[in-house]
Amino acid sequence: MTVFIPTPLRSYTRQKGEVDAQGATLGEVLSALDRRYPGLRFRIITEQDTIREHIRIFVNEEQARDLSAALRTDDEIHIICALSGG
C-alpha cells in the first residue's frame, strides 16, 4: 500500500512524499516504516501508542482512530499534520 508523507516528516524519508509499506494493521505499517526510516514513528505516535494530538491519519477517506485499524493491500494511508499560524 502507499503511505503519503507530509513535508515535516520527509527529512526521514529522504524527501519522498510517497512510500510503499506492508502490514495488516496501521500499527504494523508504521512499525515497518520506522524500521526503514528510524525515528519517524515517534514523531507521530506517542509512547502510549496513541496518535499524537496534532496528527491525523486517514485510511483512504476514513480517519483511523488508533493503531489497530485493519488495512488492505490496496489502501492509501495519508498522514496529515495540523497547520497553525497566520
Binding site: 515535516p8 515517534f42 514523531r43 506517542t46 509512547e47 502510549q48 499524537r52 496534532h54
Partner: protein, 356 residues
C-alpha cells in the same frame, strides 16, 4: 567556601560562541577574539521549537538540542562537531508504556538538558513536560527514565497535572550535578519544588524551606512551590541562587534554608521573574529579568527585548563575614525605552558587560 576577592574581576577575553534557541530553530552566534564582530549561523533545525541548546563542557564539541515542532512529537538532536552536523536521538525521552486500560503519561517536550559529571563522560540528564527525569549514558543517543520519581505516587501528586500552573505545561528543570560529586544532584519542578539527592538519584529529599508560595496556599504543600530557575555558583558549589515565582533566593549549603534576597530589589522592579544566570567567576553576581521591569519595557504591544539586570548580591556571606551591606544595586544595560528596537537596528552591536 571559596574566599571572595574585593578586586574587580577583569572581563573575560577570547572568541566566544553564543548558543541561541528560538521557537523557529537554533542559531550559533560566533564572536571574534575581540568580541567586536559577530557572525550568525544559518538556522539549525529551521521550524523546530528549541527548548534547550547545550554544549558539553567536557569535550567542548558535543551539543544537544531539545526540540519539537507544533505538531510532531518531542525529540533530541545531537552534534559532535560543534554544530556542523546533527543527528536525531535513536531513542528520545519517553515515559514507560502502561498496560492497556491505564492512563499513561506522554512527554510533550524535553525542556531541560544537563551534561553529567566530568567523571561520567557521555552522561546527560533531561527534564521534561509533564515533569519527568531522564538520563542518557551514551551522549544523548538513547534516553531512559531516571530514578524513581517519574512513577512515584508522592512525586506524581507534587507534579500535579498538565492543567496546573504553567500555560505550556508543568516542567522539570534546573537539573544540577555537583561538580565535586556525581551522586549529588538537584532538580526543580515548576510547580513541585526543589529536590536534592546525595546518592545518585536513589532517593531525593525536598529543599523548600524558606521559600514563599502564593498567598492563600500552604507552603507545607510541595505541589504549590514554583521554582522557575535554580543555578549553582560555578565558583562556589555550596551556593545556589533561585528565581522563584515568589522571589529571588540564595542558599548556602549545608544550610537547608533559602533566603529571599530579592526583597532588597528596588520596589519598582520587584523580584518576580523567570531566569537567573550567574557570573562564571564571581559568586555574588547574577543576572535576572523581572516581571515588572519586563512589562514596562514591552508595553502594551508585547514587542521588544526585555532589559537584563545585573545584580550584585552584597549580602552573601564571604570575606566580610556575611555582614549585610547595601541590597541589590541594579545595572541596566540600557536606560532608554525601545531597547529592543535599538538592538534590532544595530543588529549585533550588543552593549558590553555591565560594570559597577
Amino acid at each position: 567556601m571559596t574566599p571572595h576577592t574585593k578586586t574587580a574581576l577583569k572581563p573575560a577575553t577570547g572568541a566566544v560562541t553564543l548558543l541561541i534557541g528560538t521557537r523557529k530553530g537554533a542559531f550559533l552566534l560566533r564572536g571574534d577574539r575581540a568580541r567586536r564582530t559577530w557572525k550568525l549561523s544559518a538556522p539549525i533545525l529551521l521550524g523546530h521549537i528549541v527548548h534547550h541548546l547545550v554544549m558539553d563542557p567536557r569535550d567542548r564539541l558535543t551539543m544537544l538540542i531539545a526540540c519539537r515542532t507544533g505538531h510532531l512529537g518531542p525529540t533530541v538532536f545531537r552534534s559532535t562537531d560543534f554544530g556542523k552536523t546533527w543527528k536525531e536521538a535513536q531513542k528520545p525521552a519517553a515515559f514507560l508504556k502502561v498496560p492497556e486500560g491505564q492512563q499513561g503519561r506522554v512527554v510533550d517536550h524535553v525542556f531541560w538538558l544537563t551534561p553529567g559529571h566530568a567523571s561520567e563522560p557521555n552522561s546527560w540528564y533531561a527534564g521534561t513536560s509533564p515533569q519527568g527525569l531522564f538520563r542518557s549514558a551514551d551522549g544523548g543517543v538513547t534516553w531512559e527514565p531516571f530514578s524513581y520519581i517519574n512513577d512515584d505516587p508522592q512525586y506524581r501528586e507534587w507534579m500535579g497535572t498538565v492543567q496546573d500552573g504553567t500555560p505550556d505545561g508543568p516542567k522539570l528543570h534546573s537539573i544540577i550535578v555537583d561538580p565535586r560529586d556525581p551522586a549529588h544532584l538537584y532538580f526543580a519542578m515548576s510547580g513541585g519544588g526543589v529536590h536534592e539527592s546525595v546518592d545518585g538519584g536513589k532517593t531525593f529529599a525536598t529543599l523548600v524551606r524558606g521559600l514563599d508560595v502564593v498567598e492563600g496556599f500552604d507552603a507545607a504543600n510541595i505541589a504549590v512551590h514554583d521554582p522557575h530557575c535554580v543555578r549553582l555558583c560555578p565558583s562556589n558549589p555550596d551556593r545556589l541562587y533561585q528565581q522563584n515565582h515568589c522571589g529571588i533566593y540564595r542558599i548556602d549549603r549545608p544550610s537547608n534554608e533559602w533566603v529571599r534576597i530579592g526583597k532588597n530589589m528596588p520596589k519598582q522592579i520587584g523580584d518576580i521573574g523567570f531566569s537567573i544566570v550567574l557570573h562564571p567567576r564571581n559568586p555574588r553576581q547574577a543576572g535576572s529579568v523581572c516581571h515588572e521591569e519586563w512589562r514596562k519595557e514591552l508595553g502594551e504591544t508585547g514587542q521588544g527585548v526585555p532589559p537584563i539586570g545585573c545584580l550584585v548580591d552584597r549580602q552573601a556571606p564571604g570575606d566580610d563575614g556575611g555582614r549585610a551591606r547595601a541590597g541589590w544595586p541594579l545595572f541596566r544595560n540600557n536606560q532608554r525605552r525601545g531597547l529592543g528596537q535599538s538592538h534590532r537596528r544595530r543588529k549585533l552591536d550588543v552593549p558590553g558587560p555591565a560594570s559597577s
